[in-house]
């Protein structure tokens, strides 16, 4: 579980994340949604430790970021897995090498054990046939699955995904969403996903926070989001013509 309290983050006197507080639940897929530029990525990077908040507190399973020194921050990062928007796979490495990479760098296991663990992670995302392929030889959906395998290979306590569906067709998006949700349940991890994809919201939004101009505007579940009377949320949810038509039948 990750609890954030009054997080504020500014760049060049412009406040990107403004006084956001919430709790991201363990074993559930937590979604941060909002329009582009609403501060989702900056908030996620604060949670990852890539940005230091100007003020506020982030509590990782009872341990505050304010009480952490550099070495405990490094250890915390080893408990985090991240799926980047563009997958961020290492171009010069094959699929198996990409997945083995965190273990090779950070664990004391021997080469055989590392390969075995990496193979299990790749099998989990059903990419057994792509072991020796380079990222450039894979489709966008396959690259995302490799990124998920790399993120889970260290058995993380926290999984972060920055717009995992970006650039994917709706069908592949759902497969990726489902995979992330299954992994969250299977490993009982705290998963936080940045998204503006309404399919993801409907499919896997067990806990949703909605950001507007860096501020938390609404919080709830995928069942509640369609019933809310919050104007900003309904404007966002029913922004497409298709969903506007669907709304008429709800």
């Amino acid at each position: 579980m990750i609890e954030i309290k009054n997080i504020i983050k500014s760049f060049n006197e412009s406040t990107i994340v403004n006084n956001v507080s919430t709790t991201f639940l363990k074993g559930k897929t937590n979604l941060i949604i909002g329009q582009s530029g609403s501060g989702k990525t900056v908030l996620l990077k604060c949670l990852l430790g890539l940005h230091t908040p100007d003020s506020g507190e982030i509590i990782y399973d009872g341990v505050s970021n304010k009480k952490m020194n550099d070495s405990s921050k490094t250890l915390l990062r080893r408990e985090m897995g991240m799926v980047f928007q563009g997958s961020a796979l290492f171009d010069s490495m094959t699929v198996i090498e990409n997945v083995m990479f965190p273990l090779t760098m950070l664990s004391d296991k021997n080469d055989e054990e590392i390969r075995e663990k990496a193979e299990i992670a790749i099998q989990r995302v059903e990419l057994e046939k792509a072991y020796d392929k380079l990222p450039s030889e894979l489709s966008g959906g396959m690259q995302k699955r490799v990124a998920i395998a790399r993120a889970i290979v260290m058995n993380p306590k926290y999984l972060f995904c920055d717009e995992p569906n970006s650039g994917l067709d709706p069908r592949t998006s759902i497969i990726i969403d489902k995979l992330i949700q299954e992994i969250t349940k299977e490993f009982n991890i705290t998963t936080i996903i940045n998204s503006h994809d309404m399919n993801s919201v409907m499919e896997i939004g067990e806990k949703i926070i909605f950001l507007v101009d860096g501020e938390k505007n609404w919080e709830g579940t995928n069942k509640e989001i369609f019933k809310t009377t919050n104007q900003s949320v309904t404007d966002f949810v029913y922004s497409s013509e298709l969903l506007k038509k669907v709304k008429k039948y709800l």
Binding site: F84, A88, D91, F101, M105
Partner: protein, 244 residues
Amino acid sequence: MFYLSDIGKYFIMIKMSFFKPSKWKVLRKLIFKEINDLIIESIPIVAILSFFIGAVISIQTALNLSSPFISKSLIGFATRQSVILEFAPTFMSIIMAGKVGSYITSSIGTMRVTEQIDALEVMGINPLNYLVFPKIVALLFYPFVITISMFVAIFGGFLAMTFAGVPSEAYISGIQMEFEPYHIVYAYIKTFLFAIILATVPSYHGFYMKGGALEVGKASTLSFVWTSIIIIVVNFIITQLLLS
């Protein structure tokens, strides 16, 4: 102020590349890969350029020594001095700023654009140690490249003079004439400093670049410009300190 903060950031980057080292097993592989990419693969272009420039230096020297009262051995002497003191260490380094420097900037810059550096940070790996340190170590072998450049350039001059009908004994005695070992020391001190500049300035431009694919190209160009300027300025300072 802008340049001061850049200079500060550059030195912090160098310092940080020695901190939180990755596993030796991993670093060793990376160092060998960088030695191959930055050193071994540079040898052919260095050899070709050195050969022809050595030949041109000797031809131009011969052209200016047309008087029968001046010994032909001076051609070898002038070629040796030009190559050892300036051409091999300095101008070859500027050429390498284009080849090696733009490779370093574009490879690190692409990793920045595609979030691969962020991925390293999230994993708790020091990206500067992983990316920059192996390049610094690999370029410690750069004097080896410059040694090849010196030999090949002098040999290029020798062949050019042989074809031009200058007695080979005269050229060989020229390259042995008034040999000053300190000039070799001076050349290698310069080469060592240029190696550090070649590894770190392009790394800095790649690592701290912002933007997308277009900016990778711009960062490579900027890195070449700054590496060349820094090499020329450092060359002047070192020459003032060691030879004046």
